[in-house]
Subunit: 340 residues, 2 copies
DNA sequence: CTGAAAGCGCTTACAG
DNA sequence: CTGAAAGCGCTTACAG
């Protein structure tokens, strides 16, 4: 069961009785080869089971057919479906996907930079809003890159994601239509453009309805379940209580639901809660979480298509591609309770 | 912002005033180079920011530093954390991870085989129990490979996963200790060794307690939520009802819970339900699901370590590495109801 | 339409 | 301890 060393272009050439140059052309520029010759070559390929050695080809061409995808955390529930979209599109164009995760460790980021510098990856997809390579000076050495899921705030890199502001606006409008006048916004204080855009959508919705955004109802966490729970505790120590919690993402919303439930409240009877992202858990909460769906597979597909364009020298018309968000209505929202 | 073409070994050699052979040695066999020379080389490397061109190195060496990881579905909730373990271990040893998903499509599998044949990947990790490459004849061309999460049933490939039988036995024993004498087992009829091992653990537990395994309480699905729901419907059309549902995995258990809830039953008061895997949703169910935790990150780490051994010519002592499963007790189990 | 040849950037016997 | 040279498997201008 030893691995038979695979056939090379020489083997094919010998069998087809042509030069290796002709074999190469028959594969990559078939129109420049006589029909009869092409036939012979393809037969020889079939006989040998030949596959182009990608290392040799990349070396010669000066670029690889690999795309590096870097995420802070591979386990992020939002990540896997984006990856599906990325992978499908890449594979369809003969590219492979290399993945790495930084766990927000700059050192790690640097290690992946090496993959780039060593020519192993022709392009870069960045998941979640930050160039993980320390000094921005590095930017000069970056290959064609695109950000997904969140805009890259520290680099001029094109971005594909959901229309955050429009999504937040949809949530805000729905809450207002349900009768909520005092909605708390549980945000994310990390420097992430996506989150400030969601906040902007909230503000816009309130303003459009002539409602005041009360500073005491605006809290900042860090996008985690724990910070959602904490926000509930903080709010209960203040004098103004909201009738609804609009959360910057699903994780936070789940934390809020847990915090509220622990205090003995019923959702949505006592408080309404909304999320953003529609992570898999959202549907399984009790009550199921009303949220905004990220078109994840589609984001991945568009991002890879954009990157492939970049790799072929086409510049994008727009610096951002914003996909339309869908409101997913489930059971965590109702009209406001007549309070306390 | 054009990308400065990165430094080559020639640049380093010129600056250090040595031959390229010496540069290569200074990097990869430092003990064979004089101290003073090594110093000069490392300074030159620092100056130029040189990184070895991985394509050239792989071509010369005849093997790459990439590991191909193939899964049926990248979005599988079990997959991402295994990937984390795989990636950490690989990166620590200078390997990168290439990923692909087949969606159970043999054609897709073939495309990934090309990555292997074109020398882009030195090794293969297979997630979920099946050689996705059609004809088993292909096996001859496979590089060092290891299966994770489920044993590979159609190829003699080493495997790293949880001890399925021991895990199932833990669940069975606990259910019996709670007083359940009539437990339904909702299995998976697909040809997957992991699932039949879980069934074996169930049988063993029942036997050890002197309890009969009633054929009418053994149902087979396909591991999906939907099949869990279906199993409930089927059971209610029979005369013997169980007091507990032991499910082959969490997805099935969630389906069972949904089916039972839809019929107006309370879990665990009316029926107890258990899963296997501890997928992220399990903790968020209501009631939270009692299940067996897969040590996912650890599985990934061990599998990659094993593969790396294989790549260096070391053969494993055992064909399987079975990790110890933990019982995660939550709220979906109680004593049996006095029934109907 | 086809072939001979150069060269992508490395590593490693071989010779000294 | 160090260098000159061969060669990994390709692609592509160049010449015919």
């Amino acid at each position: 069961m030893s691995i038979p060393s695979s056939a090379t272009i020489e083997d094919v050439a010998r069998i087809a009785e042509v030069s290796i140059a002709t074999v190469s052309r028959a594969i990559h520029m078939p129109e420049k080869v006589a029909n009869s010759t092409r036939l012979k070559v393809h037969q020889a390929i079939a006989v040998t089971g030949y596959t182009t050695n990608a290392m040799a080809r990349s070396l010669r061409l000066g670029r690889s057919n690999m795309i590096l995808v870097v995420a802070p955390d591979i386990g992020d529930p939002n990540f896997s479906n984006i990856l599906v979209g990325l992978e499908n599109e890449a594979r369809a164009h003969g590219y492979g996907i290399l993945i790495g995760h930084t766990q927000n460790d700059a050192q790690r980021g640097l290690e992946y930079l090496k993959f780039l510098n060593s020519n192993q990856a022709a392009g870069l997809i960045l998941f979640t809003g930050i160039l993980p390579f320390g000094h921005q000076a590095m930017t000069a050495r970056l290959p064609p890159s695109v950000g997904v899921f969140e805009p890259i705030y520290n680099g001029g890199i094109p971005y594909v994601g959901v229309h955050d502001m429009a999504g937040a606006r949809k949530i805000a409008d729905m809450l207002i239509a349900e009768g909520h006048q005092r909605t708390a916004f549980i945000g994310d204080s990390r420097t992430r453009l996506a989150y400030s855009r969601r906040r902007a959508g909230f503000d816009e919705g309130m303003k459009a309805a002539g409602l005041a955004v009360l500073p005491s109802l605006i809290l900042d966490g860090d996008g985690t379940l724990e910070s959602g729970r904490l926000a509930v505790e903080q709010l209960f120590m203040r004098d103004t209580l909201p009738t609804a919690f609009m959360c910057v993402n699903d994780q936070t919303a789940i934390g809020v639901m847990i915090g509220l439930t622990a205090r003995g409240y019923d959702i949505p009877r006592d408080f309404s809660v909304t999320g953003f992202d529609d992570i898999p858990q959202a549907a399984f909460m009790s009550p199921a979480l009303t949220t905004i769906r990220q078109p994840r597979t589609s984001i991945g597909k568009h991002a890879m298509a954009l990157l492939l364009d970049l790799l072929e020298g086409r510049q994008p018309n727009e610096p951002e591609i914003l996909l339309s968000p869908d409101l997913i209505v489930r059971n965590s929202v109702s009209g406001p309770a007549r309070h306390l």
